[in-house]
Subunit: 376 residues, 2 copies
């Protein structure tokens, strides 16, 4: 019997929600953090190691994959799950965000975005219809509607114009999306920091009807305070029986704050990218392992962490790997950072289930503010 | 009860030998290939993944480790096994080879080699006594005597002068080596391609007395034919009750040929380095996975291989990772290459035990000569 795409809401604690998204490739417990696997790999990680952290869903990038190795090629090879050997759910973005940030010689029209590849200069056209086709070829469990990420800052007029284009593209995305059991399509609420525009966008999307709703256009430089205040009036606009996804967020404290405001799903390159730049997340904030103060430190990066980097290795060794530019450095730090993010999500889920998410959040932020342990 | 360092010879097949080297950190079945962990990591590999290939011993480089992070530091942190979390035996080289190939402003005297670090220009002196001290701090199960690797080509006079210096250094190494149960010291036979010099060197070393004997000064550009002919007259000079180690070798066919000539131990950067340059070893020769002919190929790199890269992934995916410069590319290819080398060694050991090593070698070389499978 085929799984239907659905969201089960199991508990709430204030605005925070505990639930499960069911997909063709299995369940995702929410609130969930989805590691980013941009080009068909969560960088520096074996997929079984990603799964071992507790991560259930990963994200793939339509823009990168359409350019290299190509969506049709991945389709011929059996889809992205088979290609990269990720057994769980995959969410793909629409390509809309990255085509604007990475591609060259972009030209945006009502039809879509014409651009040249940043890799080889080849010409492409990305439209709502093509984005749906690509995500179908990739076999994404969760497909994102094609949209324009409204820049920040934007005037109300700019934000409105951009949002309304995204709403027309959302309708075209829905029309082009091929429905299959266990596969879902998410709409993306735009409207910048303007409540009336967010309301208009949320209404428009619910009129079309989606399997989940993302909040787009945040984490683009507006800062945590403005992000939270925008969430404060945006999440109540979304239906309670569908998952809510805050795209591209974020720092651990961003995620904790957004969960308190009713968000269920997150993705961000921060844990993986930080793992390649010597930054380790700990319960007492981030630690730069390149710093010479770690060179004789036999202690683990985070004594509370169960990842291989923390179970097995000293800070001195991680520091040595980074200074020596050894590949094992990014491998271990990325693993740790993904584990850390998954542990935060697990803690949030447990706290929501037990009705103590406010306490959890307060303790988390207080501990994070302590700063790293004293050097030995 | 403490393990004594010893070599048990279990079977011979012509000159080829099947045995076990027992060390403080466990046994090593021979013939053995020891992956190189230059700077305290087998590049791009978790140590448990290295062990999963069947590798029992890895090699550490005295030159690299003395410069960064420093031998005294590793000693304070519990030795190299603890530092890098390698549970099995570790062999360290003496630093003699790399100080001549990597260091700057070298000055060689009877005392040793004064040099500047290629990393930060710091000044160092490497002598037989200091090399023994460093390898002791690293806690190497197998310590190599400090020697000069005679360059190729060298005149008989140059080779004799270099070899005799190495023999004086071998005596000083033996005198400075701290004996402990389960820890062994190997002498290194030099003498270039000259039989009388190899004889003189082998005699000198056996007069001093070592736990194993290495053949040095090969794989330095002389070619396989000259290497084999040198082994033909050198290995018979070595005692049968001690392991024999051919340093820095080599290609799979080099190893197969050297095992036929009585060598027990090997190390080489080839499988790891090739893993970072898109070269995959297969039973039908090496394959360059950067080549576009792999881009749509759903088949594994080597269908006979049990490593994760071959069990899980297509050539198309490996090709994509390499083209995209994803870290997972070197991770998977290195794993495969080490597995391939270990599989060759396992095949050699089984064949020796069954008295069919000549057949094994002939089949291996014939299959390797076939070249890669046809593109689909």
């Amino acid at each position: 019997m085929l799984t239907q795409f659905r969201f089960d809401l199991h508990a709430t604690d204030g605005a925070a929600r505990l639930g499960i998204v069911h997909t063709a490739h299995g369940p995702m417990d929410t609130p969930a953090f989805m590691p980013v696997g941009t080009a068909g790999t969560v960088k520096a990680m074996l997929p079984q190691s990603v799964a071992a952290t507790g991560a259930q869903t990963i994200l793939g990038n339509t823009y990168h994959l359409m350019l290299r190795p190509g969506a049709e090629r991945i389709g011929r090879l059996g889809g992205l799950h088979e290609f990269m050997q990720w057994k769980g759910p995959i969410l793909t973005d629409s390509g809309g965000f990255q085509v604007m940030s990475l591609a060259k010689l972009r030209k945006m029209t009502e039809e879509g975005v014409a651009f040249q590849s940043h890799i080889d200069g080849s010409k492409h056209l990305l439209t709502p219809e093509r984005s749906m086709q690509i995500q179908h070829l990739l076999d994404a469990d969760i497909t994102m509607a094609f949209d324009e990420c409204t820049p920040f800052p934007a005037t109300p007029e700019q934000a409105a114009q951009s949002m309304r284009l995204s709403m027309r593209w959302a309708k075209r995305s829905k029309d082009a999306f091929v429905e299959r059991p266990g596969y879902g399509l998410f709409g993306i609420v735009q409207g910048g920091i303007y409540q009336d525009l967010r309301q208009e966008s949320a209404n428009a999307l619910q009129g079309i009807g989606f399997d989940g709703y993302a909040v787009g256009g945040l984490a683009v430089g507006e800062g945590q305070e403005l992000m939270f205040s925008t969430l404060d009036f945006t999440t109540p606009l979304l239906p309670t029986d569908r998952p809510r996804y805050l795209m591209g967020v974020g720092k651990p404290s961003d995620i904790v704050g957004a969960v308190l405001r009713g968000i269920d799903m997150f993705d961000c390159v921060m844990p993986t990218r930080s793992g390649r730049t010597a930054q380790g997340f700990t319960r007492r904030g981030t630690v730069n392992l390149r710093n010479a103060r770690h060179q004789d430190d036999p202690r683990p990066l985070d004594e509370h962490c169960a990842c291989p980097a923390c179970r097995q290795y000293s800070r001195a060794y991680l520091h040595h790997l980074i200074r020596s530019e050894e590949i094992l450095g990014p491998m271990l730090l990325t693993w740790h950072n993904i584990q850390f993010y998954q542990d935060v999500m697990k803690g949030l889920r447990q706290a929501i289930g037990e009705g103590r998410v406010q306490d959890f959040a307060r303790d988390f932020l207080a501990t994070e503010a302590l700063g790293d342990i004293e050097p030995i």
